[in-house]
Every structure is written in C-alpha cells, then in structure tokens.
C-alpha cells in the first residue's frame, strides 16, 4: 500500500531536490518527494491530507542524549527553567529555594507509601545567587521522609537531615572535599561528586539498581522524542547488560514504539579485546529500531565541574586541572584495536587537552590500521580550537558539539571557567563548517532538555541566559543548523544513507511541524511548534497535555 502525504512545505535536506509538496511512502520507506503529479506514477496510491497545513522535515536526529531523561520524570522536577514532561505538561521553573521546597512538599503529599523518599531533580542553584541549599531547607518538607534533590549537572545531591542519618553521614569528623560542613561540624547536606553522593543516593530514590534497565524510563523517553520531532535518538552511555538489552529489544520492538534508538555501550573496566568483542556481538543483535555496536569512551570530566582536562593556561579562575577518566595508554589500546576491527568509537572529551590526546591516539592508530571511513566521533569537544578542527578533518573524524551550553552555562564560562576568549570559541560550529569537519549538535539530555530545534536555535544565536551573544563569529545560519540536526547527526552514526533526508529509498521518518523553521526567523527558531512525527511510515501525534 502506498500513501502520498500532502504538506504545506517539505524541507527534504536532499540537495538535488531541496523542497517538495508531497511525499510518497510504501512499506515504511520513502518512494519519493515531489509534486502530486510526479508521484502519481508509483501506481495505486492513497492521498493523505492530514498534514496539508503542516511543514515536514526529515525526522530529527538527537545525536547525544540519555534514556535517563525519561527516568528522571519519575521524580519531581525542581529546575529553574520551564520544562515539558513526557505527557506534555509544562512544569514551571522554580525561581527560589523556597519555591523548590514548596514543590517538593506538594510532591510528598501525593506519595502513598510512608517509607518512600521525596526525590527531586534538575535543581540549579547558580541562578539563586550565593545562597546554598542546605539540609535545614529540605527539612521543611513535612513528614519524616528522606528528601533528596539532584542538581541539573547530576553531579551534586542535596539531602535533608533524615537522609544524612540513614547514610551514616550525620556525624562530626567527616573529612571529604565533596562534603561541606556547617558551623555545627555536621554535613550541610550538600554532597558533591559521585563518591559523596553514593551513600545517601539510595536513601533518596536515586538507586543504581532502579535506574539501570528502566523500562518505564525508556517509554517516557520515547514520548519526549515524539514531542520534539525526534525519530532517531542516541542513548550515549549505556552499560548495556544482557538483561537491559533484552528489555530494550522487547520494548523497541513493540508495534507502536516511535523511535529508533542508537544505544552506545560505555567502556568501564573492560580489556580492549573484551570491549571490542562485546561491541561486535551487540552489533549483530541490532534491529531496525535498536542499533547497537558503537563504543562510548569518557576521556575527561566537565568544564563547569572543573573536571575537564584543559591545556595551558588551564581554568580562568585558577582551579587545578581536571581528571582523566581513562588512562592514556588504555585509550590508545582501545582506539587502535577498534580501528583494526572496524568498531566505531564515540569519545567524550570536554577540555582541549582531552581532545588533543584523542587526536594523538587516532593519528597513531591510523598509521597502523589505515581506515577510509571510521567516523570516530568526538562528543562535546567543547573547547576544541581551529587547529584541532583541522586535525579532525585530516584524520577523518566527526564532532558532536554542545551549543545548549551557551544558554545554560555560557555566562559562567565567560566569567569563571575559561574566560572571555575561550568561552566565545566554545562549540565552534562555524569553524567546523569552514574546516569541513562533519558535525552534529546535541542536548546531552537530561543535562539540558532534549529538543533539536532548541539546540539549533542555540547554534544559530549563541545566546546566554543573561542575553549575551557568546561569540557571534561562531554563529551558523538556520539552513546549516537544520541540516546538522538531521543529516549531520545521522552521519556520525553512519546512518546518513538511511535517515536524515527525505528522498527515495530512505526511511519514512518525518518531523511534523506547525511552523516553518525557514520562515519563523532565526530568533524564534526554538518556538517552532511540533505536531508529532512519522517514524518508519507510522504516524505519532504528540498528545495534548492532560
């Protein structure tokens, strides 16, 4: 059966036929895009006019997010900015610590089980001035429950007195850089960094066991994708244990599951041969809607957490250099074997020293195992400079930049972490374009909210939360940004032959938009309304908020 969808405008991203009014779909794939007359030759067709007043784009591709964005919606949203949940409800941002406590109290009132802790997420105290949240603030949530609020970075947890007690941390003499003490010598309730968080985390609902293989989280995640026009999403750092893979195969295989998930296995304590062998096994288990077999390596930490590895002169505020999350010799070994064995690697580097190390490793490995189309991809690479982009180009690498940072942390980068000059070159999209490095842009959800059109707005405008334009030279145009959130991201996963444009032979994946992103204006690109998606020829309308 062949369906022809009529639309107000179709932006195809196919350079030989950039626009069309109709698209013909058969067996979940695109027969062609063009005029109604041109498509009539495909035989018996049904004309579907439900999109006659909509704009179609290729289904958007989120190149770096985490399924955990879905899981977090089990908890109470406590962030500063408005955010939409999987059901389409808008949660207003909380504008003070008092407002956050009130929201947690409201949430606590709805909990049936008396033993259940109160868990919030998305808290971002940098917007509340110098006042830090402490356990006494959270003690104002009525009742005897343990209360915990995870920060937007996911690397700091605030807990109440009860939670400290349960964790065995309500005592004097605690000596840890991640656990500030109050005047009474007891922890204030702020727990910074994973080690400090672990002991209390399980008592406030952030339990590793619960969070691994979270089926409900995967379903929530897929609904968010539909709301944001996303038909292919990368889940960038999954441990992918066998039971997790089994669950993901089952759920993504359901007839109405709306997203193609690219799930990368994160390297942990693996030897290089084990890692590569497991990646090949996973690749063989892939289905259309669950793509496996790519390896994720985390090389350093984050810039705002001062754990990224920077080259000279280091952090603007004088903080010591960050941490390696992988030993250089291990990175070298894995990159070399992966190239030899044809397994693709995506590597997280934030600081420019981490990026340089990765470039060195790939260069060395290529001398041993020349590879024409490895597409090893730098994830984030936020501080890469022009010389490093030239090396990426020479080495056949891709990069996935993180423009959402400009909005959420750009002011901090300018004032504190890296200073004006480097803040203005962060996530250098225009340099990537000029150098010819294939690139994507991403949200890293749940670190920032998923929404490729918002991310595109960030790349086009480079606007910070306070309204500063952070490096006008690195702004890119709307057409380039739209290509980046479709074909650009698809290329980094070697899926550009399959998705990312609307043209004959490709998957029938569309983002269905109420507004035309080429007409709405660069300033309003983030305001483009999404009706829903078509994924593999199946129509998914984002339901209205309850």
């Amino acid at each position: 059966m062949t369906t022809i969808y009529a639309a107000r405008r179709i932006l195809t991203m196919n350079p030989s036929r950039p626009e069309a009014t109709h698209v013909a779909v058969r067996d979940g794939r695109i027969l062609g895009a063009g005029s109604k007359e041109e498509l009539a030759g495909w035989g018996e067709t049904t004309l579907d006019t439900r999109f006659a007043d909509k704009v179609l784009m290729p289904g958007l591709v989120e190149g770096h997010s985490h399924m955990m964005e879905g899981t977090y919606w089990r908890y109470i949203y406590s962030g500063y900015f408005d955010r939409t949940d999987p059901e389409g409800r808008n949660w207003q941002g909380v504008k003070s610590i008092e407002a956050m406590v009130e929201r947690l109290a409201d949430g606590a009132a709805t909990l049936a089980d008396a033993a259940q802790p109160v868990s919030g997420w998305g808290f971002d105290p940098i917007y509340y001035g110098s006042r830090r949240c402490n356990r006494h603030d959270l003690d104002r949530v009525p009742g005897t429950r343990a209360v915990g609020v995870l920060h937007a970075s996911s690397h700091i947890l605030n807990v109440n007195t009860r939670a400290l007690e349960l964790a065995g941390l309500l005592r004097k003499g605690v000596d840890h850089p991640g656990i500030p003490l109050g005047e009474d010598g007891l922890p204030t309730g702020e727990l910074k960094g994973p080690d400090a968080m672990t002991l209390a985390g399980s008592h406030v609902g952030f339990d590793r066991e619960v969070l691994a293989c979270d089926e409900l989280g995967l379903r929530y995640f897929s609904r968010l994708c539909v709301r944001k026009g996303v038909t292919t999403a990368a889940d960038l750092a999954n441990p992918l244990p066998p039971q997790g893979v089994e669950m993901m195969l089952r759920v993504t295989g359901e007839a109405d599951f709306p997203v193609r998930l690219v799930s990368l296995r994160r390297m942990s304590n693996d030897t290089a041969p084990d890692l590569i062998a497991r990646a090949k096994e996973l690749r063989a288990a892939s289905t259309d809607r669950l793509r496996l077999g790519v390896v994720k390596i985390v090389v350093d930490g984050s810039i705002q957490g001062f754990s990224a590895r920077l080259r000279w002169p280091g952090y603007y505020n004088g903080a010591p250099n960050g941490l390696w999350y992988v030993a250089p010799e291990q990175l070298r070994a894995v990159v070399t074997l992966a190239l030899e064995q044809g397994v693709q690697i995506h590597a997280h580097t934030n600081g420019d020293e981490a990026t340089e190390l990765l470039l060195d490793c790939v260069e060395e490995a290529l001398l041993k195992h020349p590879s024409r189309d490895h597409r090893f991809t730098i994830q984030h690479g936020q501080l890469a400079n022009a010389a490093q982009f030239r090396r990426m180009k020479a080495l056949g690498m891709c990069i996935n930049l993180f423009p959402n940072h400009h909005f959420y942390w750009g002011d901090q980068h300018y004032a504190t972490t890296v200073g004006p000059e480097r803040a203005e070159r962060m996530n250098a999209c225009a340099t990537a374009l000029a150098t010819g490095v294939p690139f994507a842009i991403h949200s890293d959800a749940p670190v920032t909210p998923m929404g490729p059109l918002f991310t595109a707005w960030c790349a086009v405008n480079r606007r910070t939360a306070s309204g500063r334009t952070l490096g006008a030279q690195e702004c890119i145009g709307v057409p380039d940004a739209l290509r980046t959130i479709t074909l650009g991201a698809a290329y980094t996963f070697k899926l550009d032959g399959e998705v990312g444009s609307i043209e004959c032979g490709k998957r029938a994946d569309f983002a269905v938009l109420e507004d035309d992103p080429l007409e709405i204006g660069a300033e309003r690109l983030k305001d483009v309304r999404v009706w829903g998606t078509v994924q593999g020829g199946r129509v998914f309308q984002a339901p209205a908020a309850p």
């Binding site: 955990m68 400090a196 002991l199 985390g201 952030f206 960038l236 750092a237 999350y325």
Partner: protein, 290 residues
C-alpha cells in the same frame, strides 16, 4: 588475616586477574566511576558489599587505576563509617618515573599521586646506577614530601611494611610485639626491615606520641599500638609515614598495652622513639582549680 583485594584490570593482557589464585566466587567486579549516565562510584558499592560479608575482611587493598588520585579515593573510602584508611602506597618505577612525571598528558597526575603518598615503593632499583638512584632519592624528597620511601627489586616488599598487622595487636592475646631483629626477604637487595617494641603500662598523651612518631626523625615506616591515654582510656595508635590516627580501642580493659614500630634496616632510631615516649609521658599538670 583476611585481605580483600580490589584489582584494577583493564590491560590488554589480564595479567592481574591471572595472577590471583583461588578467585572462586570471591571475585567482585567493579565498573568504572561516575559520569552523567550513572550515580555514584561502584567502588563504594563494592566496599559496602565486601564489608558486609561474614566473616568481614580485616583489611582492603584497593588498586586504583593509573589515572586515579589515590588521596581522593582514600577520602571517599573513609566516608564509610566502618572503614578507616591505613595508608596510600604509590608504586614508582625507578627507571621511568622521572620521565613519566614530565609526560605531556600524565605528568601532573603522577606528581599529584606522589604528593599524596604515605609510602612510596621505589621499584627496580637494581636497574639504575648509583648516581641515578641518589638523584631519585632527593627528587622524591620534593615530589613525595609526606612519604617514606621503600626501595625494592621485583616489587618484593615485606608484608609487615605494607600492611602492618590486620589485628589490634593485643586484642587476641597478651602483648607480644614482633621481636627486634632483621628478617631477610627472599630477593636480593629487596627492602629489609627491623622492628622495635615497647611495653608501655603508664598513661601517656597518645595523640602527641602519634604526631611525634609521624615525624621523619624517628625513621619508622609504621607504628601500631594499644596504649592507655592520659585520661585512662585505652586507645589504638596507628602511624604510617606521616599519616597518624588515634581512636578508641576495642581491646578488653585487662589487655596489655604496648607499641610496635617498624622501619627500614638501619633507619629506625630507637633513641628518637624513646625520646618521643618520654615527652608523651611527662606528667600533665593538673588543671588550675580556680
């Protein structure tokens, strides 16, 4: 002594795991640390699991990765109320450590590791000439100012230097510190140690003594003791290099008290230790009554 060993094992050849015999069901696998996709560190989780075993291990040996900062790991482990840190040991290769310390990517990490060490095991000293070794010794005084340096060949270090003892020395019987003397380890040129023990029955300032013993002058690598404090309570004293800790002792009240010190052969200064003991036993003048 029951020792739980947590190995870091990512190498291309799983040498470490192959060398560990009798793994049976006692091998606990730990995945990597943090980052946005996971909460917390598996190390803490594994330690909680291991500490809860029956019978519980007496001591943990944690091999951190080459890029970890062991001081930071130690502070995190110390968050577990049931555990305390014995020492941070850094193994340095005499042939390569000074070059590695200038490595473009790893140099600052290696220097931070050395700076946080309580004990540095300077290995492969048989492979460098005397001049190089002398240079290394003075370089380490700067690079690892807190640490006592144990020189070794084939990483042969007497367990007494590395681990001290797993038990409270008097908890299992009357005081019987290791008898003074020399024990020659199997490999030639490997570190040899000597020990001194002191039966001490009088009350003394245990914290003051611990601080003195942690000074380099006494020449000891480790000290451990159960001692009666000035207030009459029993305390456990624990010194490794410059690190010291005094805590309430679980030993029965009738147990004997005493102090055992271990140092490298020829370095242990019995006179300095005795002077420290004398300082700690000076009668504390009673608080003024007004």
């Amino acid at each position: 002594m029951r020792l739980a060993v947590l190995v870091n094992d990512f190498g291309e050849l799983a040498i470490d795991a192959d060398l560990i015999e009798a793994q049976s069901g006692d091998l606990v696998s730990i995945a990597g640390g943090c980052v946005c996709c996971s909460f917390g560190s598996d190390l803490i989780g594994a330690l909680v699991t291991l500490a809860g075993r029956e019978p519980a291990p007496d001591q943990f040996l944690i091999e951190t990765s080459g890029v970890a900062l062991p001081g930071a790991v130690a502070r995190s482990v110390a968050l577990l109320p049931s555990l305390s840190i014995d020492s941070v040991v850094v193994l340095a290769d005499a042939e390569t450590v000074r070059v590695r310390a200038t490595d473009r990517y790893m140099g600052d990490t290696i220097l931070r590791q050395l700076a946080e060490a309580d004990l540095v095991v300077l290995n492969k000293v048989d492979l460098v000439d005397a001049g190089t070794l002398a240079g290394l010794r003075s370089w380490l005084e700067e690079a690892a100012p807190r640490a006592r340096v144990i020189e070794s060949v084939r990483a042969q270090v007497p367990p007494a230097l590395l681990f001290g003892r797993g038990h409270d020395p008097v908890a299992t019987g009357p005081w019987s510190g290791p008898s003074p003397g020399r024990i020659r380890p199997p490999a030639p040129a490997a570190a040899a140690y000597e020990s001194e023990s002191f039966a001490l029955r009088m009350p003394l300032d245990v914290a003051g003594l611990a601080g003195d013993l942690a000074q380099p002058g006494c020449g000891l690598v480790r000290a451990r003791g159960v001692l009666r404090d000035a207030d009459g309570s029993l305390k456990t004293l624990h010194v490794v290099g410059a690190r010291f800790e005094v805590s309430a002792s679980g030993a029965p009240a009738e147990a004997g008290t005493g102090l055992a010190c271990i140092g490298l052969s020829g370095r242990l200064d019995r006179g300095a230790i005795e002077r420290a003991i004398v300082r700690a036993t000076r009668p504390v003048s009673p608080s003024p009554a007004w």
